[in-house]
Symmetry: C2
Subunit: 430 residues, 2 copies
């Protein structure tokens, strides 16, 4: 057990048992004051953000491993992510120490504490990372089977390569946005009648996809694969990901080169990056893999993480959101380590801040499906939101909320939320 | 006729008629001295690079439109690309003026001239742009038809969406490299026998793809499509692109989400970015479009450019490269303006330095096909390189050279070359 993940660890800051941000978590984010000011790096603790730039100014990060580098006076986590496991570990230990109930440095220094601990209500959370490349995998067997069944029929549901390859594709980095950013319903081409030309207009089959993603830490060199047993050194932490999808655009465009406009209009991520160190106590077995993967994808030990996931939806007319899906990160067939080993096996290089998402995380039961497409089975089984409302796909004004956490004994290591509201399509003249 | 593209324009620097870099061209690149030093922005002129940072230091870019900004003391063109057409135009006019045979400022100032004009042999050309997102289109009808015929048969060659949509997909930005970078043969999974499991090893069907790409200038905002009539304001200039491809990896992995590892190991670009202003005199009609594109993809006037393209190949045993393909950028069915309008129609934002490549540029005749896959028709018709050598796909030690130029009356506006040599695959143990 690491000193920083001890379930008995307590902070001098009071934290309720259902908080996502106890001292066992310490996720990193980038924020600025609501009143403005410079973006900088902080850590969530209970209902506060701990301003690491303030602690650094106060000389509290004079740790040899940090080598005097200014990781926290930064508008992104990229520099810190590139620093690697030793620096991450030492930084976490120091932060954990400073927040302990039996440590006086911060607890008893009123001036410093007031400067460094800012209520979450007084800050704005920004994109935590400058994303170089964004890759989206397709690693849930249940999701691939569901979608394959709908698009290609039950016989061709799972492609012959699926059980051999962590299938993935390159996504659009420019349109990855932080939680809270409104999502404009996209315009595009669709074809509903194969005997007629395609038509132009707002997507009618707008969807979410419940995903998680990991951020790459230290880079790898072009031409040099990362062996699977080294992949963990290149993974900094994780976020929730909503891979917004326009199903009607996707259906018309996706052959033969894959999804493009159906996905590139927006991808939302949660603002707090939960470190792999905080997740370590929640390691668990993933699904058995049969056939046995090729050797470059084999690794021993627990490769999955037990992260409970939920999707909630709130229409304009509803007062409170209603839960429409419960899933778990552990359902994924391919592990993050396999994904990264596969991604780089050709020699493709990765860089600090690259985002690699899991693909939709669907579980075995219909209430665990991670998209409207699956939950409503392509619109054929609308879901009931309230006495007066049902949904086949997302409507304007709908807000989608994803959340997730690891349940410890009396505490949670949580991801907060990723939220997005659907705005009506632009009214464009052509 | 623009003052800077006048075919009669002459520089005080002697330039042979087959040079790619006469005063009518003035492409931008990023370089440093062979002996080291800081990367900075220059322009190719004949056998020299004109160091713009030196001219700027000498006060020769005190142009109101540039607003005192330091565009040329930079390790990339991104800042200059983001500045927009007015700045590009004024800068080009000033550079053109300074290089004219009847302008004394640079010509007669020995000290300044020696500092500012450096022989190309004394510099190293670097990646000219920090690429945020890289998109690859699939805009040659001939190429799509050829590949479709081979992979899916003649009846399903051109997908139903192809004549309606400038089909494209997101590529990998991290592995876009500048000409001269050696290309390591990738490792990966392939399956040659459908009754057997896939196998792991070096790609055996390594290929090039003859493409061109354009760089995005000023950004667009998320949620705001760029109308097609405004797209030209967002296009800075063009380069040659070699989209290296592993056909055997591609065949096994590409369904249903498109090419991934088969492409992400490397993409090479030529180091000089030729501006749209320099290409303007070579505008021409593209192929007729039938069916008529949807209104958001319609625009009047000449949308193509007459750019002659060649691919040459040199094996280890050959003394000189041999030409294996001649094509032309004008063959492309979809224009750059249509590509960019389509890419952003969902509201996907673009950023300065984004690269958008054309897809393989194949022409109507077999000697104009832009890949080995097509030239050798999947290896069934090997091409003869010399008395003693033939090729189905690329072999270790092969060097691929792509070049291209617009032929003016007694001068050329050229792209130089994009070169890459194939290194043997890594010998990895698993």
């Amino acid at each position: 057990m690491s000193i920083t993940t001890d379930p008995k660890l307590r902070s001098f800051i009071e934290i309720p048992p259902d908080s996502h941000f106890p001292i066992q978590n310490l996720p990193y984010g980038v924020f600025r004051n609501n009143s403005g000011g410079t973006p900088r790096v902080g850590v969530a603790i209970g209902e506060f953000v701990l301003d690491l730039s303030v602690l650094d100014e106060a000389g509290l990060f004079n740790i040899p491993e940090l080598d005097g580098k200014k990781y926290f006076h930064q508008p992104s986590l990229n520099a810190f992510m590139s620093a690697g496991q030793k620096v991450w570990k030492k930084t976490r230990e120091r932060i954990s120490q400073l927040l302990r109930e039996d440590e006086a440095t911060l607890r008893d220094n009123d001036t410093l504490r007031t400067q460094a601990l800012i209520p979450l209500s007084q800050i704005e959370l920004l994109m935590p990372v400058e994303i170089g490349d964004y890759t989206d995998f397709y690693s849930s067997r249940e999701h691939a089977t569901n979608v394959g069944t709908m698009f290609r029929g039950k016989e061709n549901a799972l492609m012959p390569n699926w059980l051999w390859i962590p299938v993935g594709y390159h996504g659009r980095a420019s349109s990855v946005v932080v939680s809270g950013t409104p999502i404009r319903r996209p315009l595009g081409q669709t074809r509903t009648d194969d005997t007629q030309p395609p038509v132009f207009g707002p997507s009618r089959l707008l969807d979410f996809e419940l995903e998680m993603g990991f951020f790459v830490g230290p880079e790898s060199k072009l031409g040099e694969p990362i062996p699977i047993e080294k992949t963990h050194e290149h993974i900094f932490g994780m976020v929730l990901v909503n891979d917004w999808s326009a199903r009607d655009i996707q259906k018309w465009e996706y052959v033969p080169l894959g999804p493009f406009l159906a996905k590139n209009f927006a991808t939302s991520i949660s603002p707090w990056v939960v470190t792999m160190e905080a997740l370590e106590p929640f390691r668990c077995e993933g699904p058995p893999q049969d056939p046995t993967p090729l050797p470059y994808l084999q690794s021993a030990g627990k490769q999955a993480f037990d992260i409970h996931l939920e999707v909630l939806l709130k229409s304009k007319r509803m007062e409170a959101p209603v839960r429409i899906c419960q899933s778990n990160f552990r359902y994924l067939y391919w592990s993050m380590y396999q994904q990264l080993a596969h991604h780089t096996i050709t020699g493709c290089n990765v860089r600090p801040g690259d985002l690699m998402a899991s693909g939709t995380i669907s579980g075995p039961t219909p209430d665990s499906y991670g998209s409207m497409l699956e939950l409503t089975w392509r619109g054929s089984k609308p879901i009931r939101l309230s006495e007066s409302e049902t949904r086949k796909f997302l409507e304007d004004g709908d807000t989608v909320i994803m959340t997730g956490w690891c349940q410890g004994d009396g505490y949670r290591v949580g991801f907060g939320e990723v939220i997005g509201e659907i705005l009506p399509a632009l009214d464009m003249e052509f």
